[in-house]
Symmetry: D2
Subunit: 341 residues, 4 copies
C-alpha cells in the first residue's frame, strides 16, 4: 500500500542512523553534557549565521512549544497566534496546561496579518486599563503553516517589525522548517529567519530524525536555568546524545536542506499532477503538504490503495484531504500515486 | 579514562540498535498506532504475567513520574513518598508543577516503612476534619531506590496491603527495575511487582535503550483519553516507533533481564573488591549502584583515571561517591577499576 | 457628581448591612459551619424550587468562575463560551491559570446560538480522532450577558438540550442574575434557570451585597471535598458568616428580587430617554446596563458632570459608552442624568 | 456555652463595623480605586515607618500566601518553610497548586533556625550542580507561628541576614501579627518587622476585621501588574472598599494594637490559671493561642460547657487542646472559663 499520510512514517535518514550506530558505544556524559551537543550547536550557529545563538535540543514539537512559550512568558501574559495555529488548536491544551492563554487573531490560509497583529497588540497601549485582560507577551507563527503556506520575507519582516514596536518576542514554529526554506516560493534563508525572530525551532522529527527539535534563541535571550526548566517540564533526556548526534549529522554537509529538497521536488510534481488531472486544490500550497478536494467516491476508491489524511468535510459529496511528502518519499512511489489519480 | 559515573553513558544495546536499523524504512503510522506498539505490549504483558495490563511508552523517567502522578491523582490529592524519593528531591519540582504536593514521610536508606505509611494515611481517617490538608491519593516508591536498596517481597506486600486498606494506588518507579530484579538479594519477580502495585514503569533508558520507559497499568486503571494526556504533557512522540521497537526487542528472548544481569554480576564483584580492600561502604547496596566512602586524597587520585559521581560530603576528610555499572559495563573495565582501588 | 459607571459603586443594601450589624457579636464557627449558612441555603433552595440543590458561597465573580470551571472539568477538557464571554476576555486568564482552555464560539450581542454549540461539540463525535484537541467539557453562558442581553426561555432550553445531548454540563454566570430575571423581556424564573442548567451562581456583589456569590449545584453534582477545593483556590473565608448572613437577608422576604426591580425600572426609563432624545443605542439592552453611542464632543461634555464607562470606539467621532443602574440608584439621580442628555 | 475555639468567631470590631456603616452609601470606584485604599495605605506606611512601602489588600490568609509566593517566585523556585509552617501543612496544597514546591526544613515549636536555613540554602552554592532540584527562592515564616511562639529580634535578624546573604526574599505571615507584637515577650515593633523582611502581611481577619489582610512590600518590590495578578488568582474584589475601609479604621488611633492587647492580657491570665491549677502546657506560648494537655476525662467534661480546639493526641489518656483569645474576648467569659478549669 502506498503511504502519504504524513511526513513522519519512516524512521531516520540513513546518514543520521549511521551516525547513531557509529557513536553508540562512546561513553558520554548525560543531560546534554556531551561533545556532540557542542558540535551540533556550532554547526547550527553557522547555518543560521548567528554566532551568538543559544541552542537547546528536545524531543518533539508540542514539548518545544510548551517549553518555549511557558518559559518566555511572564505569568500575566499570553501568546498571540492565528486562530488555526497549532498551539491554538492541536496541542491538546498543552499551552493552557502551563497556565497561559492562547490569544487568537484571524488566520488566512494559516497565516496571520501584520496589520491584524498591530491592531490587536496596539489596543493594549491605545486606551484605558487592561488589567482584567491577558497581555500579549509573545507572538507565535508557524513556518510553513499548518496549511503548508509560507510567509514572504516582506510579510515576515512586517510581523517582526510589529513585534519590535511593542517589544513582544516573535517565536517561529519550524516543525517543517526545511520544507519551507526549500520551497520554490520561499525568499527567506535560515539566517533571515534567525534575524527576524527572537526564537525559533528547527524541526527534526519531520525532517530526517527519529525525534528531536533544535530550539534556537537568536538574541541572547534563553531563559536562565534552562536545564531546570527542561527537567521540570519532563523534557530533559538522560541520554542527550540521542538528540545531539542526530542534529550534528543533519547539519553536516548541508544534509538537512538537501533532504528537504527531495520532499519539495516531489510535492510540486504531485501538485502539478492534481492540476493537470483537473482536481480542485483546497489551497495552493508551496510546500510538502498538498491539500486537494476529492469527490467522496473517488476518495474511497483511492483509499484502497494509498493512505492519506482526512482534512475537512467540504460538503455532502466532497472532502478535503492531505497528501504529504518527506525526505523519505521515493519517485517510484510518487509515480505510482500519480497513476492512481 | 574509565567511566563509572552513571548507567546511561552508552547508547543502546546492540540488539536494540540493530532492530531500529532493521525497521527504519518501514512505513508506520504515528503516535503509537504502529504494529510494534502492539507487539511490545503483548510481550510485556506476558513478562508481567498480567494479561490485562495496559501499557504506554514515553521517553524518560521524570516525564513518566509527572504523567502518571498527575493523571491518577484527583486535584485535591498528593503523592506520598519517602523524603529521599526521586519525586521529592530530584525532579526539579516536576510534580509540584502539575499542581500536586509530594507528601514526605521518613526514608531509611531510600525505603519507606509500611508502618510509617499506615500511620500517615491513617491520620486522615482517624480523627476530625482534614479539609485543610492535602489528601494522600497515591503512594510512590522506587525499586531499586535512589540508594540502590530493595524492598523484600514481604516489605512490598506490607506496603501494598496498607495501600489497599485505604484504597490508595501504589506506584513503583522502576527506572532501574531490571537491576533490582536480577539482584541476588531480590525475592520478587516482575509478576510479583505487577501484582502488588497498581502501576509501575519498566525503565529502558538505564537498561539497554536509547530512551524510553514502559508504563504498566496492572489493574485496568489507565486514565481515559491517555493519548490526550500525553499530548498535553508534551510526552507524545510523533514517531512512536522509536519507543515501541526498542521495547519490543528488549522483551524478546529475555534480553531485558539478561543484560541487567551483567550489571549486577559486575557490581557485586566491585562491592567485594571494596570490602576486601578495606573501604567503608556508605550502605550495602545489592544492585548496580555502589556507594563507597573515600578519603578525599584517595578520591582526588582516583578521579584522575576514572569518572564516578559525587554523592555527599561525610566530613572534612571523607566523601561518599557512587560507582555505577550497567548492561554495557565490561569485565575488562571493571578489572582496571579494581586495580586502581 | 453623578455616578453611573458601574453597579458596584455603593456598599450593601441597608437591610443586608443591618443584618451584619445585628449578628456581629454572635459567636459562630468558621469556614461555613455557622447557622446562617444553613439558613441561607434553605432559603435559596426554596427560591430555586430545587430542594436538592447544593449551595456554596464565595466572595467574587472571577473566583466563582475559576472554582466552578476548574473543579467540574476533567483535566483534558475545556469550557465552551461565546467569544465575548467574561471568562474568555475579562478574567485576566484566571481560567487558563487553572490549566483549562476556554473554547470560543461566535457571540451575537453576547449570546451564543444553540446551533453553533451543537455544531461545535458535534464535531468531536462526528468524525475521526480528536485526541490532539481540547474536549468540550462544560458550556458557559452569562445571564444577563456582558452586553446586558438575555436568553429567552426557548433559547436557553435549546442550549440546555444540546448540553444534555452530549452530556456536557451547562454553567450560567449570574453575576447580575437579579437584573436579568426582573427585566420586562425575561420569560424565565430562577426555578427555570435552576432546572435548565447544572450549576449557576446568584450574584450578590452587584445586587445588594458588600461581596459574595452563591453557587447553586442543581443536580446533586457538587464536586466532592468542596471545602478543600475552596481552600486550595484561596477562596475559603475564615469568617464564612460574612457571606452567609448577607445571602440569608437577600433571600428573606423577596429582597433580592425587589431591589433588582429598582435597577430595571430606572434603566428602562433611561433607555426611553435616550431614544426620545434621538441617541443611537449600541444595542437594545433589556437590563440594567445601557449602551449608547455618543458623539465624542457630547461625551466629553457629559463627562464633566456624570461618570459612565468607556465601552468601545465606534469611529473617529463616536464612542459607545455604558450607563449602569443598580439596586442603589435613586430616581432623583436618574432625573438629573436625563436632564443632562 | 463559652467559646474559645478560635480567634475568628465574632464579626468585626465595633469601630470597624461603624465605619463600614458610615461610608456605605458613598459612591466609590471599584477594584481598589477608592479614596480609602489611599488613606489606609498611608496610615499603614506610617505605622510601619516605611514611607515607600507598597500595600495591597486581599480577603484571606491562604489567598495572601498563595498570591505573594506565586508572584514573587520564579518558575524554577520554591519557598522554604518550617515543616510545621501553615503553607507546608494547612493550606490544602494552595502553594503547590500554583506550581511551586514548599521546601521543608526542621521546625522547633513552629520556628525555623537561622543556622538550619543557612545550611539548607548554602548547599545550593557550596557544591556541584543543582539543576535537578527546586531552588530556594523565598523564605516563609509566620509571626506568631502556628504554635503561638515568637521570634526574638535577634533570631529574626539572623534569619534576615541569611536571606540577604543569599539574596532570597523573606516573607512573614502575620495572620496574627497584632497578637505577636503586643506579647510581653516581644521585643520587635512593626517597623522592625518591615525593616527585616521583604514582604509581610498584617492579618485583619483574626484581629478586628470581617475579612481582609494587608500585604506590605517593604523594599519597592511589589510585582508589576499586581491588579492583573490579583484578578488571575480570583483575589480582586469589585468592592475594594470592603477591605480598605476596614484597614483605614484599624490603623486609626492605634486601634489595631489596642484591640490586640486585649487578647494578650486575657491569654496571659489564662496561661497563669493553667499553671496555678497544675495543668501541663504543651508549650509556653506568649501569644493569644494557649496549648494545654488535658486528661481525656477532664477534656470531655470541659467540652460540655466550653468550645476549644483539638490540637493533637498525646497518649491514650491525654490530649493537647487549644484555647484562643481575641480582640473580642471578654473578661467576664475568661473568668467563667477559669472557674471551670
Amino acid at each position: 500500500m502506498l503511504n502519504f499520510e504524513s511526513d513522519y512514517i519512516e524512521g531516520a535518514h540513513q546518514k543520521v542512523l549511521d551516525r547513531l550506530v557509529k557513536t553508540n558505544m562512546e561513553q558520554l556524559s548525560g543531560y546534554g553534557a556531551d561533545c556532540y551537543t557542542d558540535s551540533a550547536r556550532e554547526k547550527i550557529k553557522a547555518a543560521c549565521n548567528c554566532p551568538d545563538a543559544q541552542i537547546e535540543f528536545v524531543t518533539g514539537g508540542t514539548q518545544t512549544n510548551q517549553l518555549v512559550i511557558d518559559t518566555m512568558l511572564k505569568s500575566f501574559e499570553g501568546v498571540v497566534a492565528a486562530r488555526t495555529g497549532h498551539v491554538a488548536v492541536h496541542e491538546a491544551g498543552a499551552i493552557e496546561y502551563t497556565g497561559h492563554k492562547v490569544l487568537e487573531i484571524p488566520g488566512y490560509e494559516g497565516k496571520m496579518k501584520a496589520e491584524d497583529l498591530d491592531s490587536y497588540i496596539g489596543t493594549f497601549y491605545a486606551d484605558g486599563n487592561h488589567e482584567h485582560m491577558v497581555f500579549p507577551g509573545m507572538v507565535y507563527i508557524s513556518f510553513p503553516t499548518e496549511y503548508g503556506t509560507l510567509y514572504s520575507k516582506n510579510e515576515l519582516t512586517q510581523i517582526s517589525d510589529v513585534c519590535h514596536k511593542y517589544k513582544v518576542p516573535l517565536f517561529i514554529d519550524g516543525a517543517r522548517l526545511g520544507y519551507g526554506l526549500k520551497s520554490p516560493d520561499c525568499d527567506l534563508t535560515m539566517a533571515d529567519v534567525a534575524r527576524l525572530c527572537d526564537v525559533f525551532y528547527i524541526g527534526g522529527t519531520k525532517v530526517g530524525a527519529l525525534c528531536g527539535e533544535a530550539i534556537v534563541y537568536t538574541k541572547g535571550n534563553r531563559p536562565e536555568h534552562f536545564d531546570n526548566h527542561k527537567k521540570r517540564h519532563g523534557a530533559l533526556l538522560a541520554k542527550g546524545r540521542l538528540l545531539s548526534v542526530q542534529f550534528d549529522e543533519l547539519f553536516t554537509d548541508n544534509l538537512y536542506f538537501d533532504i528537504s529538497e527531495n520532499a519539495i521536488t516531489l510535492a510540486m510534481e504531485l501538485k502539478n499532477a492534481f492540476k493537470q488531472k483537473g482536481y480542485e486544490l483546497l489551497l495552493d500550497s508551496p510546500t510538502n503538504q498538498q491539500f486537494v478536494i476529492l469527490e467522496n467516491k473517488k476518495m474511497e476508491e483511492l483509499a484502497k490503495e494509498v493512505k492519506f489524511s482526512f482534512w475537512e468535510k467540504i460538503d455532502e459529496n466532497h472532502t478535503a484531504v492531505r497528501f504529504a511528502t518527506s525526505w523519505a518519499t521515493t519517485r517510484e512511489n510518487l509515480t505510482k500515486l500519480i497513476r492512481l489519480l
